[in-house]
Amino acid sequence: MSWLVPVPVVLPLIGAALAVLVGRSRAAQRVISCVILTVTLVVSVVILVEVDSNGAMVAHSGGWPAPLGISLVADRLSAILLVLASTMLLAVLIYAIGEPGAERNHVGFQSAYLVLAAGVSASFLTGDLFNLFVAFEVMLTASYVLLTLGGRAEQIRSGMTYIVISLVASSLFITALALIYAATGTVNMAHIAERMADLPLGITSAFALLLIVVFGIKAALFPLFFWLPDSYPIAPSPITAVFAGLLTKVGIYAIIRTQTLFFPPESQHGTLLLVVAALTMAVGVLGAIAQDDVKRILSFHIVSQIGYMVMGLGLFTLAGITGAIFYIVHHIVVKTTLFLVGGLIEHAGGSSRLTRVGGMVRTAPALAVLFLIPALSLAGIPPFSGFLAKLALVDAGLGASEWAVVAVSLVVSLLTLFSMMKIWAGVFWNPVEDHSDDEYDAPPLPVGRLGGPPFMVLPTAALVVCSLAISVGAGPLYDLAERAASDLLHPAAYIDQVLRP
């Protein structure tokens, strides 16, 4: 079955090429993208089922055995994230097709989107550190194009910051790679893990910190998060949604993967990660409270939520990492949904500024429901998925006697609820305040009973159902996350599977 592993990477790339070839027909492009992403989703689910029952799958590209060739490895964590990523990509694609403007005006949209999909899949599946760099670049280059598609002045401004920061992070990644290669003589991740054990503690500790900085920039950890709230809100809503759901999570995945696989317990920086996690949570949520734009509030919340995932990792216990994985699952679904609803608000109200829209609980009641469920879930109100994810993390934190970070996480939850209520009050309850000084906002469009075009509302509703399904199926999902966490804490099996099949 290991021939399935490269499919989620190769298929979207083929689709991207086909989408360029049929560039004259937007309908043909849409069919290609939808079919490709649906097949990718099915393949990802098959991989997850297979990996969960029979252990990690390894594919050696070109048939070269592990330390020589590039290996693609699907273990439980990769497979879980792959399924989530494919689901989000498919839902957001349908939303983008339904939204006037975002996708229709650009011949390159579908290709760039599929390349992004390939890059995300490759980042989750690769078993080679240099290949991880390449996968990051594939994903980021596609994201640069998507972010600046259209070339409006504010897109250029924020896109520029984003590209410069990403390029600096990539250069640091190359630097880290060079140093790790000089010390271990390999770029295969399993092989690095094996050889890292023989290095002096000071050197492994330095590598661990360097990789935290490199991936911390991509994941938007405090104090490396400042680029995110500036660049994400500018893109068209579906693009922001997919960035918010997936790109920072790829960074978190890379942190979890490298910290658990490469470094022996004595060179792991648990306390540092916990401090960073607490600061990330607190600074992110305080930033969100200061904003008055739905998309900017949500962007600051991405930063805040990243803190929870790092908190789970920083505990370095089975319960902690399980909580982090469960949190990532919940967060990807809920955050993507919230940004899609943000797009619907913008569509229905002509703006995403809280001062410009209002009273939508009467004009678009369906949107109010679609917003309220993920918003309460994000804040951690029972019985939604966010409550269960936070409960798992808090429980793990108490189990490891890390009182301070648990206290911070609880206060931040309360502040999250506050800023979600601020959006609720501003967008749905309050009357419209002023429409007088509309600088660049579009006039409000008439909305139907659904609160927007059906192809925008349906994928959003589907994701809301997904997030409810997470809380209904929390038991089996938590068990799956626990098995994935257990794999991460005992990397010997991973190493054996890659190097000695």
């Binding site: 240099f130 760099f133 390449v134 670049e137 980021l140 280059t141 640069y144 194009v145 600046t148 070339g151 002045a153 504010e154 250029i156 401004r157 924020s158 896109g159 520029m160 910051t161 590209i163 410069v164 390029l167 600096v168 990539s170 250069s171 640091l172 190359i174 630097t175 790679l177 060079a178 140093l179 290669y181 000089a182 770029v187 709230p229 500036d230 809100p233 200061a290 904003q291 008055d292 734009d293 900017r296 500024r353 809280l354 001062t355 601020k422 501003g426």
Partner: protein, 138 residues
Amino acid sequence: MTVLLAATAAALFAIGTYLILQRQLSRIIIGLGLITHGANLLLITSGRRGRAPLVGEADPSLMSDPLPQALALTAIVITFAVTTLLLALAYRSWLLTSDDDVEDDVGDRSVARGTGPDHELRDQMESMVAGEDEPVET
């Protein structure tokens, strides 16, 4: 030799970092070019040095390590492509604003000015400020 290469990489990083912190886009792009060169140089330095790694050219034990060279080549191609995109964006930015500076973020400025949604808070602030001097328009 390794020390010389490491020192060169360090100098490239230092100058690049200085340039990236400037406000003009053209300097930032040149700075990025220097930093990526520094990183690539470090990548080359990480392998063993020696003769050209071609079969039959030299004894394998005397050959240099070809892997970092291949990695550096890949990294150069990638950063080349991204730098090209960045130059295109810089040109677009010049067309739109007819200057070379990185602009402030609109949202940040409005938050800093206090024109957010909290009208009561804003009015309070304005009445406090009005007592002393006019708020400065950035």
